[in-house]
Symmetry: C2
């Protein structure tokens, strides 16, 4: 990667919330920055479930990294796959060639974890990338199409049954959206089946859904899901997933659409560091977010477990990654200036999850919100954090259109035709 070598070189791995906000904080500062990502776009993951459920288009929630950073002429964006981090020699091994650094920010994010059952992935896809979202959209929509053609009653019922595994925010949002699709969006679109009879189950292993929220909000969310026709089952431990069923011990639930929202693990890249990791493969970082023993390398967002504030890892949400990205960039600059680094401290501005039309839950400080007001707060925050006027406008339009017409704008089945299955 040939560039004039006068200024110190900072490499950022990953263009998600952590990496992008680190890059922005380094724009027009006296460093050369290279941002590496496997994808050419920043993805607004909090709205990814809306792509999976046909409400938004991929490009509504994704922006090319080059466009976002166009004016930051000290930043070079390269599309690359990182195979290994060589901390001892301050270099990264890429799919082609390698790249050295003076300071490193690792923000490669997380992928799904099936808790040792990787064979479940093919039957129960998770939701992390645009491709995941389009695959889920394809499965959800194809199941109704296959049901319309099916003569066998039991098989038709299996096609009309969806199971979402995992009762965190993503699982709740997916289950709620599936309920809206069956009860409202496509209710009158079929001639031979009745989509409103579709069965949607949300399975949670713990005692209640949305465990990181106060208990009263868990119950509000459960009620809102039930009104959308979703069956919520807690203390439901999945023991097996096959092509057409989910097993809870001896109980079999026949279902053709199974979605995984139960577990995440740090990107496999973390394992190449030789640094201490927690059980989910996350780097156990120092208080200043650096990798132990390597003050020039920082790990942020879903790639790190930050235990120094509450004793447990901070949640894997966008606000944590954004604040860590800015803090890591600041510590990079301090270090290059010979100043001591600063410990990171997360400022919790609240958390929220949406269930469906005019239904959401939110915690802001001591304030607990549910229903319409939480939903409006959710809309406002998500529109504000979307990058770019164009995306904001289009998402607002799609939402307004969906709200008025009860339709969903992106009901396309794309990808290879593989028959039903």
């Amino acid at each position: 990667m040939t560039r004039p070598a006068a200024l110190p070189h900072v490499v950022i791995v990953g263009g998600g919330f952590g990496g992008l906000y680190a890059a922005r904080a380094l724009a027009r500062r006296p460093v050369r920055v290279t941002l590496l990502d496997r994808r050419n776009h920043h993805l607004f993951q909090p709205l990814l479930y809306q792509v999976a459920t046909a409400a938004l288009n991929p490009s509504d929630i994704a922006t090319p990294l080059r466009s976002v950073l166009r004016k930051a002429t000290n930043i070079t964006v390269l599309l690359a796959e990182i195979q290994k981090v060589d901390l001892a020699n301050c270099r990264l091994v890429l799919d082609r060639g390698e790249i050295g650094y003076d300071a490193l920010v690792l923000a490669a994010g997380a992928s799904h974890s099936y808790f040792g059952h990787d064979d479940w992935e093919v039957f129960a896809p998770g939701l992390k990338t645009l491709e995941d979202a389009l695959e889920i959209r394809r499965r959800v929509l194809l199941a109704y199409e296959a049901a319309e053609r099916e003569h066998d009653g039991a098989e038709q019922q299996a096609l009309l049954t969806s199971v979402v595994i995992g009762g965190g925010p993503t699982g709740v949002e997916l289950a709620g959206a599936l309920g809206e699709i069956s009860r409202q969006t496509i209710a009158r679109d079929f001639r031979l089946i009745d989509p409103t009879k579709a069965r949607i189950l949300l399975l949670e292993g713990g005692a209640r859904i949305l465990t990181t929220f106060p208990e009263s909000l868990s119950h509000s969310a459960e009620d809102a899901l039930r009104r959308l026709g979703v069956e919520v089952r807690t203390k439901a431990i999945v023991t097996r997933v096959t092509a057409d069923a989910v097993w809870l011990g001896g109980e079999q639930i026949r279902a053709r659409t199974v979605l995984w929202a139960a577990g995440v693990a740090a990107a496999p890249l973390a394992r190449t560091l030789g640094a201490p990791l927690d059980g989910a493969g996350r780097v156990l970082v120092e208080p200043d977010l650096s990798v132990p023993g390597h003050p020039e390398a920082f790990a942020i967002g879903d790639m790190c477990a930050f235990l120094h504030q509450t004793g447990t890892p901070l949640p894997g949400v966008a606000p944590v990654a954004i604040q860590q990205g800015r803090a890591a960039a600041d510590n990079v600059l301090r270090r290059l200036n010979g100043q001591p680094s600063r410990p990171f401290r997360y400022r919790d501005k609240g958390s929220m999850a949406t269930i469906g039309r005019a239904a959401a839950v939110a915690v802001v400080g001591r304030l607990k919100l549910s229903g319409l007001i939480a939903w409006l707060a959710w809309l406002f925050v998500h529109i504000m954090f979307l990058i770019g006027f164009r995306n904001r406008f289009l998402v607002l339009f799609e939402w307004a259109w969906a709200y008025v017409t009860w339709h969903r704008g992106a009901r396309l089945i794309t990808g290879p035709w593989r028959g039903r299955g």
Copy 2:
């Protein structure tokens, strides 16, 4: 396919322009209609090149067939693959099961033809489906990304060279859009390469591009393409296509992005009919659009060659398919009522092709238009024929946004990461 069998059963194969307009003409008439398609959406193919060149989103130009026909309660839409038409027994063999009919409208469209060189397809994809468009978008955008990482000068030049084969409307539109992308959209997005130095070639085997247009408009289009940096070469016969080059006899053009817009052939389904076909595999239909010897079966749009008006087949464009769809539906009803069928007659309302920003050519009767006025006419006609207010509004917004900012809204590389190449 169980339905009450009181009314005659009309089966329509394909939900493109021909099939959809036939279905609409049969809505609320005394027939049961089943519309079969492999896809769940109607695709507005005239704007497909804009998805391939990152200006529009897939769902901007595609609408679920179920939504379009929701209110036509006598029409059932089924997602199915048709394997064989059994004209003798009035039935279709599907991927699962079969379906009988009293009248049949075949509107399965066309796919690419490589004139016997099917091995070229992998190197030079054509543009017929949304998947094709997304694959082309991926290749076009990835080539610039790979060039930014490339050290070898010759290989970098090959990555920055695109060849469009075929100078009909699709080839002209693709080449013009590629010119706009390199000269305007991404001109300032890279640090190590200069996208405005990218080479774009449009190769046409005949003496001029847009051969179906008057000669003066061919020259206007050529001039407009040259202003966008496109090299237009006529009488250029491609003899070989490989992974990194296009050959014109002994001349080799090194290019990593090659797009095919040279030939089409009727859907392979036509070959299962046992009916007379022309060289492009199209059914040589009777004057009333019926398949010879089968007055209850009609073939329309790109699947048929209609020679009874001008002696040569009508062009494979949307207006022909739309008018034939309506005419076939009318003849189906006449036949079921015991009336004689009517011969089809195409009313040519003109044709147009667009080259880029404020540049297009159009023929309306004896009127020949080029430049801004042809472009405005093109905009107006394409917006009017898009189905659905939502799509019209979003496409207008994307176009206005692109016009003002010079950006393109859908610059996403999706699909599996396969490295460069």
